[in-house]
Amino acid sequence: MNTDLILDIASGICLILGAVMSLAAAIGLIRFPDLLSRMHAATKPQVFGLLLLLTGLGLQLRSWAMVPVLLLAWLFQLLTVPVSAHMVGRSGYRTKHLRKETLTEDDLDAVVQKAAADEALRSEEAPDRQ
């Protein structure tokens, strides 16, 4: 077996699996019931999917000069995905775009209620607590 063939097969497998991860995102978007669980499907499988696609690309290009560029593309994805997911998730939670009945446990609910109550109290009285 020559190495070229093996590398071609490996990169083919990587590309197909990467595409399957995008499919997972699409299925998740349709199937999951509320905003927050859809966020999981929409953002997360791409992290692994993009890694596989970039690996497949790297195996095809076979040039060491491209490796840092591909790595950088993945790193920037890693840096930006949680930020966007967090922003959408946080505002989604605060604006009640989630279905409470899908949650088995909600530790944040009490905190948010308390913060809202404190805020109301503070606007009524003199600001004696920080």
């Binding site: 199937r31 997360k44 692994f48 890694l51 939670y93």
Partner: protein
Amino acid sequence: MSRVSKRPRIPFLTELPLLIWLVLLWGTLWQDFSAGNLLFGAIISVVVVNLFYLPPVELGGRLNLAAGALFAAKFVYHVAVASFQVLWLAVATGPRIRNAVLAVKLRTHSDLILTATGHAISLIPGSLVVDVDRSCSTLYLHCLNINGPQDAQAFRAQVLRIEADLIRVCGNREELALVRAENHGQEDRLTARGGGGQP
């Protein structure tokens, strides 16, 4: 511009990691790591860092590259496994999925470890950071497929394990001592990890 003059001067050593990263980024984007290009990149980095002021990141004062490599490998493994789990949940469970918003209190008080833990756990499919309480370093996470208290407990343990790994990579000495002390209590049972985290 009175705010400009009030900025505290950042020591050069604190800025150094950022400068090195920017120089490497410059070299990568040009795909040219020759000395002249890197020198030019260094000049641009210094200008950029001084022009666009960022609050300094407080580092823990240590960096363990071996632990870092181990963490990176574990991280990619977790991401791979969890990606397939989310795929399976989307196909099989779909609308009947049960989730939870869990509060996880971390050991650390450093912003860097808190952010890195939140980032890592966000990148692993099935969990996302909804809110952060910086003053008591608590992460509020939305997690997929939590069907009861056992699942919630297992998830919290996973977050704390990731935090412990990150502390081993770049946490400060007090936090590292804390993690080691915890491990001596626990790893008598979990011998499979072979005393990981020894110096």
